[in-house]
Structures are given as structure tokens and as C-alpha cells.
């Protein structure tokens, strides 16, 4: 039955390996990029991917993994919605003897392997940049992602760690922009009304919101006085960095996350030795180095 | 087809989910005549008219209007070609004003852009209403009108279309005599101009007053067409019902009146009615008469807790009570059958059984659970007692004819075994056979010692059923008549009582 087929696959045999993939949200550009890399890699390796979209719902994600188990896939790649809430999926997959690889973010239950980067670190990098730019002194506002989601929580945590190191850096206001550019723009407009020139820097949990903040600041003619930094390095953000409107973004390597995830999954499926943890470093993108990140 | 035939219907058949509502029906209408269409509730009169106006499509048959085929037309076409209709259900848009309703679908007056000119519509409507002699503000939203006023607006709408045939489906069901007279005057003028009227009504006396020709339907089948002059009431009823009907009103057998069940003293509601005092005894029928808008319904609503009273008191079995809601009223043993059957009477989406037992459901249940079998038995028994015509206890009430719906509403209240029953226009829109049955029922419950208040605009009904009659005019009590004092003339005289004497009226 199934296990023999995977062994056959291991022996370079007739049957294709099947990998089930559940992604946090296929409406998020970065996640789509990770997935596209996985698809590319899978195509090259000759494996079948079954991709499903958890639409940010951990419940849905757990159900999707259950479904993968029922389909007897050879390996599962999960881009978790939630540290804790997506954990039952890991438990279930392991109990069914199917290797499960977490990509991009973690769950509290240890999976077979982890490929990705630490979200807390990305925020540290971003905030540190702000702190240094401002010389450790000034007023910062922070735009959160959707409240309660793992990425929001971790990015907030990283930012606060840095803020603690710089007692003269004051968090003037914080509010959720729900990852959304339009919402962030409105929020920034309102903050400008409230604080005007008091604001020295904006830290946004993702580029979409960062770009929204930039737009609002530009409209108010304040951009030159305020530093805006965000995370993800989506193409729009890279362009903005190049133009100098966005001061910095933090590059998360979708390409490597995607291909390493597939690599690990295949090794695991074929019962070969594999890296339990593959950490892909973040990189700060500023005008200085943006050219290397821009795709032709 | 003779030269003065304007509308001819042949072999018309219409089936609703397997039930034949019309079966091979024919009808010939001549210019300038008033053609009465008669039949019991559910005979198919409205269905036939809705087909004529284009709201329903027939299964087969042909309709010729001024010599041309009409069967394919939609409502818009038919209206333009000169047929208009007063609908039995009063099809109005509640949020729009009287003027806007009257000219709905015909607003195109402001040229190419089809801009609305509401000022002109209002003026035109105002003129029309004034010409009809009706005092209704044309800029008043229809939702604030009383049923009777709405019916007058329906009439205005139909006659404003300059139609050559006007269908009137029970145009007077909500009207009192004065308005009926207005309508008849208008009908007279129209027929003199050659307009044909198709007239549907359950009020026999109206037929004999204005009809030239009478066509009778029974169970969806064509029965006969006769000149009105050749008919007498008994023959007509026999044609409609298929048998002879005994006397309409039960013989008064002098039920001994018991204790005073309900008495009101100086009851008033600001701007609506004032100084109303009366009492009803067990086994007695108190009739309340008055012109349209005299405030009769408002008194009933106030006693039933639907409206707040501003002065006076209500006593039940001599004990003063405060009624804030229908639950309070029902708790005190009061039952109320509203004049607005659709609005306050029944639940259209529920079966006959469910409607009948609704007010008394607690009795047919143990704890939270309904005792299915008992509920069904009770409902079936009540259906038998009321002689409800339905395919069974599970038929939806919407599918019943108006008369049978009314019986279901009455049955619902009776099962709650009220000690005091208020009936507001209990026979509105109901055919003569069903009327007789409702009268019989009222009499029966009277004999069982229920105190009954009956509000009605039909004087024969008031006179035939009441032990005593209270007459109202403009929210004030003008007299209290005993059965032998009362006559049509006396009642009318007190009902027309104008505001000359502003002092306390009544006693």
C-alpha cells in the first residue's frame, strides 16, 4: 500500500510523490511568493503538490491537514496560521506517521522540520534601523497587523525589545491597520491630525501598511521629516525604497523558504536524513543595497 | 358579438397547483353597464379579474377587448388600453403618498427626461379627490390612512385612468354607507359616459341598487348571466350557493343577560375618542355603530391593550384593571378579532391547525411540549364546528378564501375561551353563506354566556345581532339604543350627530 509506494518513490520508481501544502493565506503576496517557489521546485523534482488555502483560519488549517492524512499524502508542508492553534495539525500528522514541515513560521508542537525565519528578528532589525536613524531619540508610531495573529504578536514583541533598549525612543501611538494599505493610510492621516510633526518614525508590521503610511505622509507633505520602515520587501516596497519614499524594509527570502521546504519534505518522505531546522536570515533593505533585491 | 360589447371572455381556465380556480368561464360586458360578478368566497371572481388585467396568465381561453385579443397583454399594456382595476387586497405602496400611489406607473409627464413632477401629481390628485368628494390629503403617505381611506384612494386611482372598463373587486368592503353612496354616484356618472363597470361585492343590497346584469360563478364554473331586474335575492343566492339559504340572522331567543363582564367608564384617548362609557353582560351582544372614522376600532384597540388610554377606567367583573398589552387583555379573558384580518388576524405561513390553536397552545401542551394529537383533534373539531372549508387541517391559511380565513381567526380566539369577545367588522368581505354561519356562531357563543362587543358598518348586521347598540360620532358616544328602539334611521341620525353640542355626549 501507501508506504511501499513511497519506498518505490525513494528508489526512483514509477509513482510520483504527493506533498500536501496548506498556506496561511493565498491573498498575501509574500506567502504567494513562497508558494510559487515551492511549485517551481516541485515541478523540477517531479512531485505532485496539493495546495490549499487556510485563509488565515487555524481551524481550517487543522481540517486541511486531517484531509491530507485521509488522502495519505507522502509529506505535508504547513505554513502555520497560529503558533498554538495550528499545533493539533502537527500532532495529527506525526501520529499518522506522515512527516510535516513547517515553513515560514512556527508551531508550539515541534514538527518534523522547520524552514523559515524568526518573525521576532525581522522586527528587531526594522526597529533597530529606526533607532539608529533617530540617534536613539524620538517619537515612533507603530501599525500593527491584524490583532492576535502570530505575525502581529511576534513583530510587536521584536519591536518592543528594541524600544526597551532605547529609553529615549517613545512609542507615541499604536493601532492596527489590519495589514491593509487603505486602512493604514486612513490611520496615518488621523495620526497626522493628532500628532503632526511630533512623529519621527513609523514602524509598520508589513509593507502594505508601510506604503499606506508613506502615501498619507506624502500627501501631508511630511514624508521628508518622518522615517517609515516596514517588513516583507514586496516588489512595491522595493520600488519605494529605491525612490527613497520608504526608508527601509526587511527582506524575507521567499525563494529560499519555498525551495528549502520542498527539499526537506522530499528527503523526509523518502526517509532520508534531513535538516531539522533551516533558518534563513533576514536582510535589511535600504537605498544602499536595494539594487541587489530588485528583479530585472 | 353585438356592437356594444366591449369585453368578451370565452372558455377561460386557470389551475393553481392542480386545483382548478376557473373552469371554462365565459363573460360578456357591454358598454355603459354595471355588470355584477357574484359568487361565494373562493368562487374564482378575483382570479378571473386578475387574468383580465394581465396579472395572471390563463391556462386556456380567449379574451377579446374592443374586438382585439387581450390574452397576451401584460399589466402595463392592459392599463394603457383602457381597463383598470380596484384590487380587493388594496395594492398600495405604503411609503408613497396618496398622489404618488394614484398615478403610479403613469408619472411620465415631464417630457423626455422622465423627471418627476410631484407638485403636479399632487395637484391633480387633490383635484380628483375633491371632485369625488373625499377629504383625504393627497400628500399624505398611504401608510397613515385607514382601511376605508385606502379604499377610496384605490377608487380614485382606477377612475383616473380614463378607462373604458373598470373592474371593482369588492370596492366597498371597508366603506360605510356614506362613502358607498359617493361611489355609486361616481359609478352613475361613469356609466353615463359609456364606461363599463365590472362589480364584485358580497353586499346583496348593493347589487340590486346598481347592477344592470349579473353573472354568477360557483366553484370556478360559469353558472348563469341574468339581467338584474329579473332576479330576486333568493334566486341569486340559490344560484351562488347551489341551494336555498335559511334566514341570515338567527332568531333572537332572549338569552338572559348575566353578570356585567366588562364596563368602561369615561374612557378616552387624546384626539381620538373621549368619554366612552358602557357595559356588557354575559350572554349579551353590544353593537357599536358609527360612520367611518368614528373611532370604533380605536376603542376596541384601547380595550385590548394595543393603544394607551389617556383617561377613564376599565372594569372586568366589577374589578378595575389596567391593560397595557394584549397579553394583559387576554389574561383578563378578552379576545379581539381585528377588522384588519391580514394585519392582525392570522399567520399566513401557518396551517389552519396551527393558526387555530395559537392563542390557546398552552392548553394543548404539557410543559414545553405540544401534545400533537390533542392539538390536531382540537383543531379538527373546531374546523368542524366553524365549518371551515379547507383540504384539511394542514392546509395553509393563505390558500383559504376570505370567509374561511375569517372563521379561522374567530376560531383561534374562541379556543382561548374568552369571557369577553370583541369583534371588529366580523363579516368584512365575507360571502353571504359564511356570514350566516358566523352569525350562528356568535349566537351560539352568546348562549354560552360570552359577553360580545360587535363593531360593524353594516346596519342590517348591527340590527340583526345586537341586544343593545351604542352609536358613535366623531369619537363621542351619541346614544345607547335597546334592540327595539333601534332602526336604520335612528342609528344614522345619531351617527351623523355633528359637533354642535360640545358637552359630554351620550347619557
Amino acid at each position: 500500500n501507501q508506504s511501499t509506494s513511497s519506498e518505490k518513490g525513494a528508489g526512483g520508481g514509477s509513482k510520483k510523490l504527493v506533498v500536501g501544502v496548506t498556506m496561511l493565506s493565498m491573498q498575501n503576496e509574500f506567502i504567494v511568493n513562497v508558494h510559487d517557489e515551492m511549485a517551481k521546485k516541485a515541478e523540477a523534482e517531479g512531485v505532485d503538490l496539493i495546495t490549499v488555502d487556510a485563509e488565515r483560519s487555524p481551524l481550517k488549517q487543522v481540517e486541511q491537514v486531517e484531509s491530507f492524512i485521509a488522502q495519505k499524502v507522502d509529506a505535508i508542508i504547513m505554513n502555520p496560521c497560529e503558533v498554538e492553534a495550528s499545533s493539533p495539525a502537527v500532532t495529527k500528522a506525526l501520529a499518522a506517521g506522515i512527516p510535516i514541515i513547517n515553513v515560514n513560521s512556527e508551531t508550539s508542537t515541534k514538527p518534523s522540520a522547520f524552514v523559515g525565519s524568526d518573525d521576532v528578528e525581522s522586527a528587531r532589525i526594522a526597529m533597530k534601523f529606526i533607532a539608529e536613524k533617530l540617534g536613539g531619540k524620538g517619537n515612533v508610531v507603530m501599525m500593527h497587523g491584524y490583532m492576535g495573529q502570530a505575525a502581529q504578536i511576534k513583530r510587536e514583541q521584536g519591536a518592543r525589545e528594541i524600544l526597551k533598549q532605547y529609553p529615549n525612543l517613545k512609542l507615541l501611538a499604536q493601532q492596527t491597520g489590519e495589514w491593509d494599505r487603505a486602512k493604514a493610510m486612513s490611520l496615518m492621516e488621523n495620526w497626522i491630525q493628532s500628532y503632526g510633526p511630533q512623529i519621527n518614525a513609523v514602524f509598520a508590521h508589513n509593507d502594505e501598511m508601510g506604503l499606506g503610511a508613506v502615501k498619507a505622509l506624502e500627501d501631508a507633505g511630511l514624508k521628508s521629516k518622518v522615517i517609515v520602515v516596514s517588513i516583507d520587501a514586496i516588489p512595491d516596497a522595493l520600488q519605494a525604497v529605491k525612490k527613497g519614499t520608504l526608508d527601509a524594509t526587511v527582506f524575507q527570502n521567499a525563494e529560499q523558504q519555498g525551495s528549502k521546504a520542498i527539499e526537506t519534505a522530499l528527503k523526509a518522505a523518502k526517509r532520508q536524513a534531513f535538516e531539522k531546522q533551516t533558518l534563513i536570515p533576514f536582510q535589511l533593505v535600504t537605498t544602499a543595497n536595494v539594487a541587489t533585491f530588485l528583479k530585472p | 358579438m353585438t356592437s356594444d360589447t366591449i369585453l368578451q371572455v370565452r372558455g377561460l381556465t386557470k389551475t393553481f397547483s392542480g386545483v382548478k380556480a376557473l373552469d371554462d368561464v365565459q363573460l360578456t360586458i357591454r358598454k355603459g353597464e354595471v355588470h355584477a360578478l357574484m359568487g361565494e368566497n373562493g368562487a374564482g371572481k378575483s382570479t378571473l379579474m386578475k387574468i383580465l388585467i394581465g396579472l395572471l396568465t390563463p391556462d386556456s381561453g380567449e379574451i377579446l377587448f374592443e374586438g382585439n385579443d387581450l390574452t397576451t397583454g401584460n399589466v402595463g399594456d392592459v392599463l394603457k388600453r383602457g381597463i383598470s382595476m380596484i384590487h380587493q387586497e388594496m395594492l398600495m405602496i405604503p411609503e408613497l403618498t396618496v398622489a404618488q400611489n394614484i398615478f403610479l406607473g403613469r408619472e411620465r409627464s415631464g417630457g423626455l427626461l422622465r423627471w418627476l413632477d410631484d407638485r403636479r401629481l399632487t395637484e391633480k390628485a387633490g383635484a380628483l379627490l375633491e371632485q369625488m368628494g373625499v377629504a383625504i390629503r393627497p400628500d399624505m403617505p398611504v401608510k397613515y390612512l385607514s382601511v376605508a381611506q385606502m379604499q377610496m384612494v384605490e377608487i380614485a386611482r382606477a377612475i383616473s385612468n380614463n378607462a373604458s372598463v373598470i373592474i371593482m373587486d369588492e370596492p366597498t368592503s371597508a366603506l360605510a354607507d356614506a362613502e358607498v353612496a359617493t361611489l355609486f354616484r361616481i359609478i352613475g356618472e361613469l356609466t353615463r359616459q359609456g364606461v363599463a363597470i365590472i362589480y364584485i361585492s358580497h353586499k346583496m343590497d348593493e347589487i340590486f341598487t346598481i347592477a344592470d346584469t349579473v353573472t354568477v360563478l360557483r366553484d370556478g364554473k360559469y353558472i348563469a348571466t341574468r339581467p338584474a331586474a329579473e332576479l330576486d335575492i333568493d334566486t341569486l343566492i340559490a344560484l351562488m350557493v347551489g341551494r336555498k339559504l335559511d334566514s341570515l340572522f338567527p332568531v333572537p331567543d332572549g338569552v338572559p343577560a348575566g353578570e356585567v363582564m366588562l364596563s368602561v367608564d369615561g374612557l378616552g384617548r387624546r384626539g381620538v375618542f373621549a368619554d366612552i362609557s358602557f357595559e356588557v353582560r354575559a350572554g349579551e351582544v353590544l353593537g357599536i355603530a358609527g360612520l367611518m372614522g368614528a373611532g370604533r376600532t380605536e376603542i376596541a384597540r384601547a380595550i385590548f391593550g394595543l393603544d394607551r388610554i389617556s383617561q377613564g377606567e376599565i372594569r372586568i367583573r366589577g374589578k378595575r384593571v389596567v391593560i397595557h398589552s394584549p397579553q394583559d387583555a387576554i389574561g383578563h379573558g378578552i379576545g379581539y378579532v381585528s377588522e384588519d384580518r391580514k394585519g392582525w388576524g392570522f399567520i399566513p405561513g401557518m396551517s389552519v391547525r396551527e393558526n387555530l390553536t395559537l392563542a390557546s397552545l398552552r392548553k394543548w401542551s404539557s410543559g414545553p411540549f405540544i401534545r400533537d394529537k390533542q392539538e390536531r383533534d382540537v383543531a379538527t373539531a373546531m374546523m368542524g364546528e366553524l365549518n371551515v372549508k379547507a383540504t384539511g387541517p394542514d392546509q395553509l391559511v393563505t390558500y383559504l378564501s376570505g370567509g374561511n380565513q375569517q372563521k379561522v381567526v374567530i376560531g383561534n380566539r374562541l379556543l382561548a375561551q374568552p369571557a369577553i369577545l370583541i369583534l371588529d367588522e366580523p363579516t368584512r368581505g365575507i360571502d353571504i353563506g359564511a356570514k350566516a354561519e358566523i352569525y350562528r356562531l356568535i349566537h351560539q357563543w352568546q348562549q354560552r354566556g360570552v359577553a360580545i362587543i360587535m363593531i360593524s358598518s353594516e346596519l342590517p348586521e348591527i340590527l340583526g345581532m345586537s341586544d343593545r347598540i351604542m352609536v358613535l360620532a366623531q369619537g363621542k358616544q351619541t346614544t345607547m339604543l335597546s334592540r327595539h328602539e333601534a332602526s336604520q334611521e335612528t342609528i344614522m341620525r345619531y351617527a351623523m350627530h355633528r359637533d354642535r353640542d360640545t358637552g359630554p355626549t351620550g347619557e
Binding site: P58, E82, A85, G148 | P326, S338, I347, D372, Y399
Partner: protein, 328 residues
Amino acid sequence: MKNGFTTSFNQVSTSYKTRVQGIGKYGLLAAFLLICIALSVLTPRFLTVQNLMIIVTQVSINALLAFGVTFVIITGGIDLSIGSMVAVTGVVAASFAHPDTFPVAVPLLMGLLAGVAFGAFNGFVVTRSNVPPFIVTLGTMTIGRGLALILSNGRPVSNLSDSFNFIGGGKVLGVPTLIILLIVAFISCTIVLRKTVLGRYMYAVGGNEQAARASGIRVGAVKMAVYTLCGGLAALAGILLTSRITTGQPNAGAGFELDAIAAAIIGGTSTSGGSGTMTGTLIGALLIGVISNGLDLLNVTSYYQQVVMGIIIIGAVVLDSLHNKTNA
């Protein structure tokens, strides 16, 4: 509220069959079976005991919410706050469910209590004010979401006891607890709706509020009851969800209201009140679940899934309405 001197006949006739004959919804059932057959043909993985069990498990949370909202819609109301109630009750339950603190009954009771209180508040505002239920529950939806975040401090409440996690994640004799609870809830709700005085009153209030009042029904009390019931069922859903994902999530349940309302309406509950059945709602929820499971099994790309999902749902209801159609 609109009047309707004249409900059209048509409207009545469609809902008539379904309601009174009780079994009803043949059209929808047919559409549902058709989809199931199609899926069985398209993929052998669909018609396996294990997969069917997974579908029912996945459907159960939405079905519970849909049962609750069916009660509300039958009375002519609406409840948009169910998704937020899931979050609030989940967070509340989770806060009492850490290992070695309280016995498992405590988080259960506290969660239910929170839901019932929330629902009762909805009912109170709806009956005491003139504000349309849409606005009331839209307001409490926002309030509830805020409360869940405040209570949890914006972070998932995790580290829950095994016994608590068993409630929604365990199996009894090989059958997932969720399925068992779903069946129990379905039967109870059906009984409430069809066999009790309260159920009858719900139809009456939704069918014609004035007539219900004139029959002596305390309309306000009935409305209080349905919103409270709906809150209770949402709490059950919230607790089960929390237990299944072993975390109380302050942003759980976002958007669930639309799915639940969709299940009810697909199942034949009329938004204008007065008609609807639990069986219909259950089929509606199963339909949504089966389509979503089938599309996953067929590996339809996520974007196309949404397109196909929309088309099938409209299609199923078209099929249903064709079946129930009477001539105009």
C-alpha cells in the same frame, strides 16, 4: 417592518411545502446528492468513511452556529455577532481550562454562560429598542471582537488541559465527539422548533408579529429566547472550536456569521421570517462543507475554488427553487 397587505401567493407556496410537510427540501437534497455523486465519480477519495467523517467534523462548528441563527431568522431577526461570540466564549473557556486549575466542567460552564449572557444582551437591545437587529448585532459583533481581544490581551490563550481538549478533539468508540455533539444538537434544535410551544411561537412571530401579539404571544419574550439560544449555541461552537485547536483565539470566528447565515438560507429559511427547518439548515451546512472538501480533494487551485464554490452554491439553490417552483 414592512407590511404586506399582500404577500404574494408564490412566496407562500414555496415555503409551504417545506414547512408543513416537514420533510421537504427535496430540491436541495437532490442538488446535494447530485454534488456528492459527482464528487464520488471525480475522485475515489471522496466516498470513504474516513473522508465523510472528516466532512461532518468540519461542518459541525458552522452547523451549530447555523442552527442558532436559524431560530433567529425564523422570528424575522438576524444575528451577525455569532462569529464574535465564538471568540469571546472561546477565550473565556480557555482562560479557565489550564491544566491543574479547574475541573473541566468549569471552562464549559463559563463559556456557555458568556454566550448566553451575550445572546441575552442582543435580545434585550433588540426587544427594548427600535433598532433593527442588523445594527444591534453588527454593533455587538464589533464589541464582542474587542472584548475577546481585551480578555485575552490580544494573544491566543493556550496551554489547555487534556480533558478540555478532548471535548472537541476526542473520539468516543471511534466516532469524533464533534459528530456526536452535532447530532445531539441537531435533534434538540429540531425538537425545540417542531415540538414545543416556543418553536411554534417563533414561526408565529416571524410569520406575522402583529397577529402573534393579538394571539397573546409575548413577542418580546420569544425574541429574547431566540437570541439567547443563539448565544448558547455559539458558545458551544466556540468551546468546541477552542478545544479542537487547543487554543482560545481572540480572532477566531471572524466571518463565520456569513457562512452560518448562508447555510440557513440555502436550507430554505426565509430572510423575512416565518419559515425554515433545522433539516434544511443542516443540509445547507453540509452542502458548503462537501463542496469545500471536494474542491480541496480535487486540488482545484485556491483562486478557482472560490469561483467554483460561488457557482455551485448559486446553482444548488437555483435547482432547489426550480423544484419548488409554482407558476407565477
